[in-house]
Amino acid sequence: MNKTKVTEYIENQLKKKKILLMTHIVCGYPDFETSYRIVEEMVKAGVDMMELQIPFSEPIADGPVILHANQKSLESGTTVKDCLDFARKVTSDFEIPFLFMSYYNILFKAGVDTFVKEMASRGLQGAIVPDLPPEEGSKYLSCMDEKGLSPVFIFTPNTSFERMKYIANLARGFVYCVARKGVTGLDTSFSDKLETYLQQCREAVQLPIALGFGVKDKSDVNFLIGKADIAIVGTQSIRVVEQQGLKALGPFIAGLRD
């Protein structure tokens, strides 16, 4: 198994930082100009990687905040094409790796190979597709491999060790460890149980592991140091922008790590 660029990047960054930070935006929410400025703020504040979510009309794995952002973005006319263009822009302007996050239909409708090619040509480095289990994803896997992109797969507290190993075998880049049951945007308790779970994830896979769902402040991130390689902040940064404005975003992100 060849290391993808994402894995290499993560391993390099980890030499400099105790834990990396990956954040998330919904493309075109509230508009593309703001999306760009959010990326800019985040990168300035030291984020290591970013997920760019292509909005979808049926986002079954997302909680209220991201769901709402999906919807608003679509209502304002966001297309997949817009998102690809946007990705082109941010991958050119900023140095960190960007991954697409979306639902499988977006890839499927475009044609998986076409879509992966487009991703590659836009400088994206991987994708997270929460409704595409590895069993259904062989075509996607081979296309991604071909382009050297990282198909990021998911572990959950419900995933058996055996299945983790099966998934590990197919995963590239890193593994997205979901902290708990449920959708994005709800509270997670950062506890011993979570630690045990992360140990198991670590044992199952040699790739870096990222922990997401419910990470929202410095203490959560601190908890994860040494247990995971990447802390994923999704909903919370959208909330910060919605509630306190764009200005608050930089300080929020910067304040997540010492």
Binding site: S57, E58, L67, L132, N158, T159, R163, V178, G182, V183
Partner: protein
């Protein structure tokens, strides 16, 4: 799929139990299980429990006993003498799923899943609902089995389907008005999925139709196959021969799969009728398999034909009948479209009201607006067939639940006055 004719105790035959056409996860190119990883083990458990049940003849007997003691299975096959005379063609028979407890074929599915929930030892059920029929059926099943119950329903539907919400609440269910998306059925499905990924340990998601991730299309069809098994026996008894054609409306596809199941191996033409809304040419419809407006996609856990735009975003659909107003369709039917085993047609809102009017007047039957779609197509074709032929229409539900919609469709002034007077009474 063959009835076990030798089993003496088995009065109404056995369910579809094999046959590549209706065993998942894939049906041709359609189906699958496109689910968040967190649900993997839950779905595995469900598949296992379902397959154990399916292979256990005692389970089907238990299911049949429940349906005959609590609902009224076997439901009759009614010979529609006056409609037959009217159309002067094939003999018209009507399978009476409207007589089920709670008023539609939905009962077959929910009660079956209820038995599985008991087997799995879960204590809570959730469901999506559009018109509210499946919500009422699920809440009823939950009351009967003593499960907790939450029903997800788009906010728009909650507002317009208040009678069903009222009964769900009386039945002890919590009805959650989904305020996201287009606030209708598909959004309720999404929201139910969100609940399920949070509470799968205690909770079973009672999907209402032959859609969603494997094993739902197969499982829902399995429970609904009781319709077709009965209908086949009944038509042989009453008509002495197989029907030439069988008609069913197609929303998600469960009632169609149910009745078609009895006839897959027979030389019987199967016709699925979708919601033509304002007409296929207007784009305002919910015809996934009979129009050119749909394309293959993956959403809500499965691969099938969806009404979606070229980038994969789901479109808004329209139908006078809430239960057919859905973007996707059973992957099993999508496959049958491809293999040609089932023919698909569309009926417009206007045609539906006409067919409803006629079947009420001629037979005293009030089909649900959903079911009336099947009547439309059958009425169009009956005159083409000779009098020695028979056709069966599946009356999937009863229409008195639709009074608010039907009264509006007829623009009945006395109904309006009644509602206005009632509102004034409430204002006082």
């Amino acid at each position: 799929m063959k009835n076990n004719e030798n089993n003496e105790n088995n009065q109404w035959g056995e369910p579809i139990s094999s046959g590549t056409q209706v065993v998942g996860p894939y049906f041709g190119a359609y189906g699958g299980a496109f689910i968040p990883e967190i649900l993997y083990s839950t779905i595995e458990e469900l598949k296992e429990e379902f397959h154990k049940a399916k292979n256990d003849p005692a389970f089907w007997e238990e299911y049949k006993a429940l349906m005959s003691n609590y609902s009224c299975r076997p439901t009759p096959l009614t010979y529609a003498e006056r409609l037959t005379e009217h159309f002067k063609g094939a003999k018209i028979f009507i399978k009476r799923e409207d007589l089920n407890h709670t008023g539609a074929h939905k009962a077959n599915n929910v009660m079956g899943q209820g038995l599985l929930v008991k087997r799995m030892g879960k204590t809570r059920v959730i469901a999506e609902t559009g018109a509210g029929q499946h919500g009422v059926a699920t809440a009823t099943m939950a009351a009967r089995f003593g499960f907790d119950c939450t029903i997800y329903m788009g906010e728009v539907d909650v507002k317009r389907q208040r009678p069903n919400v009222f009964w769900m609440e009386r039945l002890g269910a919590t009805v959650v008005a989904v305020k996201e998306g287009t606030r209708i059925l598909k959004d309720a499905i999404n929201e139910a999925m969100r609940d399920w990924v949070s509470n799968m340990d205690s909770t079973h998601y009672v999907l209402g139709t032959a859609c969603g991730p494997h094993p739902f299309p197969e499982m829902v069809s399995y429970f609904q196959s009781i319709i077709g098994i009965e209908a086949r026996k009944q038509i042989l008894q009453q008509h002495g021969a197989l029907p030439a054609r069988v008609y069913a409306c197609v929303g998600g596809g469960s009632n169609a799969m149910g009745i078609f199941s009895g006839f897959f191996d027979d030389p019987v033409e199967l016709v699925g009728v979708e919601a033509g809304g304002y007409g296929l040419s207007t784009g305002q419809h919910a015809s996934r398999l009979s129009s050119n407006d749909s394309s293959i996609g993956v959403a809500q856990g499965y691969k099938t034909y969806f009404l979606q735009n070229h980038e994969g975003q789901m479109k808004e659909t329209h139908s006078v009948s809430a239960g057919l107003d859905y973007v996707g369709v059973s992957p099993i039917l999508a496959n049958f479209k491809e293999t040609g085993r089932v023919r698909f047609e569309a009926a417009t809102d206007k045609e539906v009201i006409e067919a409803l009017t006629l079947s009420i007047k001629k037979e005293g039957l009030i089909p649900a607006l959903e079911s009336a779609h099947a009547f439309v197509q059958a009425f169009k074709e009956a005159p083409e067939l000779s009098a020695d032929k028979a056709i069966i229409i599946n009356q999937s539900g009863r229409g008195d639940k639709d009074i608010f919609t039907v009264a509006d469709a007829y623009a009945d002034p006395a109904w309006r006055e009644f509602i206005i007077a009632k509102a004034e009474e409430y204002h006082e």
